[in-house]
């Protein structure tokens, strides 16, 4: 019987990553939606990089960045005793970068589609930018928020190359389901690989089906998840 630990680990990674990205992604999306600075395309390009870069590129850079032998990794290790390589927190940091566009894009397009009169009305009534964002704008883009959350979660479920490079394949620490499948196939245990693969396939499909159903019912401007 296949060990279910990798599946739990995958769910845990996806959940933690989604919460972190909600905290990081909303401010970035709000800033991008409202900014008029010339730097905007540059920031948008950086945020979107994980969509086109092979995960191995990110994995390679993170392996070097987190290594306790030099730079950032050395600093974290020496001063805070933090070791991101071969650890769950390290996978979370990697996943946050890897899934960033999946949180930012839907929220940003949701906010950009709102009529500017909403923000102006709120401002004339004496609300600060923060209050406007949290009490006026975000409640009006709930479907976009939900899309961002669900897509981030789903995308993190499918992570492989990055984890392969910085995870170290440790049971119940960094051996997520995608890595477990790879292991089982290499060890020729196709039965176990089938169990993991089928569960991931079904979960991913249900998640995407939910997103598309919601999009259809609620907003017109969010034709596709991205």
């Amino acid at each position: 019987m296949a060990d279910l630990q990798p599946l739990w680990l995958t769910l845990k990674l996806a959940s933690v990553t989604t919460v972190c990205l909600l905290l990081i992604g909303v401010p970035i999306a709000a800033a991008l939606a409202t900014t008029r600075y010339r730097i905007k395309p540059f920031v948008e390009a950086v945020v979107s990089l994980p969509l086109v870069l092979p995960p191995s590129v990110l994995g390679f850079y993170l392996l070097l960045a987190f290594s306790p032998a030099q730079g950032l990794g050395k600093f974290l290790s020496d001063h805070f005793n933090i070791h991101l390589l071969f650890s769950f927190p390290g996978l979370v940091v990697g996943s946050v970068i890897y899934s960033l566009p999946f949180m930012v894009h839907p929220i940003q397009s949701g906010l950009e589609a709102l009529p500017s009169s909403l923000r102006e009305a709120s401002a004339t009534l004496g609300k600060t930018n923060m209050q406007t964002l949290f009490h006026v704008l975000l409640p009006n883009v709930k479907p976009a928020l939900l899309t961002g959350i669900v897509l981030t979660f789903a995308h993190t479920l499918g992570e492989f190359g990055l984890v392969l490079m910085i995870g170290g394949n440790l049971p119940s620490v960094t051996r997520v389901a995608s890595i477990a499948i790879y292991n089982e196939v290499e060890a020729l245990n196709f039965h176990n690989a089938h169990v993991y693969a089928a569960i991931l396939l079904i979960v991913s499909f249900i998640i995407l089906l939910t997103v598309y159903s919601l999009n259809k019912r609620t907003t017109k401007h969010l034709r596709s998840p991205l």
């Binding site: 306790p68 070791h83 071969f86 060890a187």
Partner: protein
């Protein structure tokens, strides 16, 4: 003018066909990737045939061969995997030992390699190849068990998918110590990277590295030539240079 275009087009289309005539595809266990480059250079010099190397863990390559990967020759890190392929009727003959593998403990520059030092605090992580898929990982586990330190070091172990990833972890400083092959640390380019010590060969099963020619070899003639070359005096010298027994 048009004629030239057509001729060029035909030439371009035929090119890959010409290329396949004089090459051999060799699947190589990760421990032998550096020695196999040296072997390929010598082989090319004497026969003019290009040997293409595909590096991975012995287990992975075996799985790929079973699924019909287009390799001609398979250099494993042990005898078990090529024997399994022979038993399934996928090879022309039984595996033949081309080298004896030697396990070493490799550490970063400021640590002197020894088994006792692995338990100390300056060694935070130790990389070994996946014992289920890579013979060198299996040998490393055996060595730790024989020395009764496997339980003690359990939380420090990081599993690389093959010797290749284990080496990468040590060279990037991601780990302070790693169990790898002597053929890796004797590679001219890696000679001065860190320190290493040979692990007592009595603490693990000897790694008889076996080679087989695959029945499906597309380049059967080149494959046979490469196989024969492996057992020539010239190849023996190269294996010795890279620390094989």
């Amino acid at each position: 003018m048009k004629k030239i275009y057509y001729r060029l087009l035909i030439a371009v289309l035929i090119m890959p066909l010409c290329a396949t005539a004089q090459k051999v595809r060799v699947a190589v266990a990760a421990n032998a990737q550096f020695v196999s480059e040296a072997l390929a250079t010598e082989f090319k010099r004497t026969t003019g045939i290009t040997a293409e190397m595909i590096v991975g863990s012995s287990g992975k390559l075996t799985a790929q061969i079973e699924q019909g990967a287009p390799f001609d020759v398979f250099l494993s890190a042990d005898t078990k995997y090529p024997q399994a392929l022979y038993d399934k009727g996928l090879t022309t003959q039984k595996p033949k030992t081309y080298a004896l593998g030697v396990l070493v403990l490799w550490t970063i520059k400021d640590i002197r390699p020894s088994l006792p030092i692995l338990a100390r605090s300056q060694v935070k992580k130790i990389a070994i190849a996946n014992p289920e898929l890579a013979p060198y990982g299996q040998a490393a586990m055996e060595c730790l068990k024989v020395n009764r330190i496997s339980g003690l070091l359990k939380d420090k172990l990081v599993i690389g998918e093959s010797i290749a990833q284990v080496n990468q972890y040590l060279l990037t400083g991601a780990v302070e110590a790693a169990f790898t092959a002597r053929s890796v640390v004797m590679d001219p380019e890696l000679k001065d990277k860190g320190n290493w010590t040979v692990i007592d060969p009595r603490t693990y099963h000897p790694m008889r590295q076996g080679v087989v020619i695959l029945k499906t070899a597309a380049n059967a003639e080149s494959a046979q030539k490469f196989y024969d070359f492996l057992f020539s005096d010239a190849a023996k010298k190269i294996f010795e240079q890279y620390g094989y027994r």
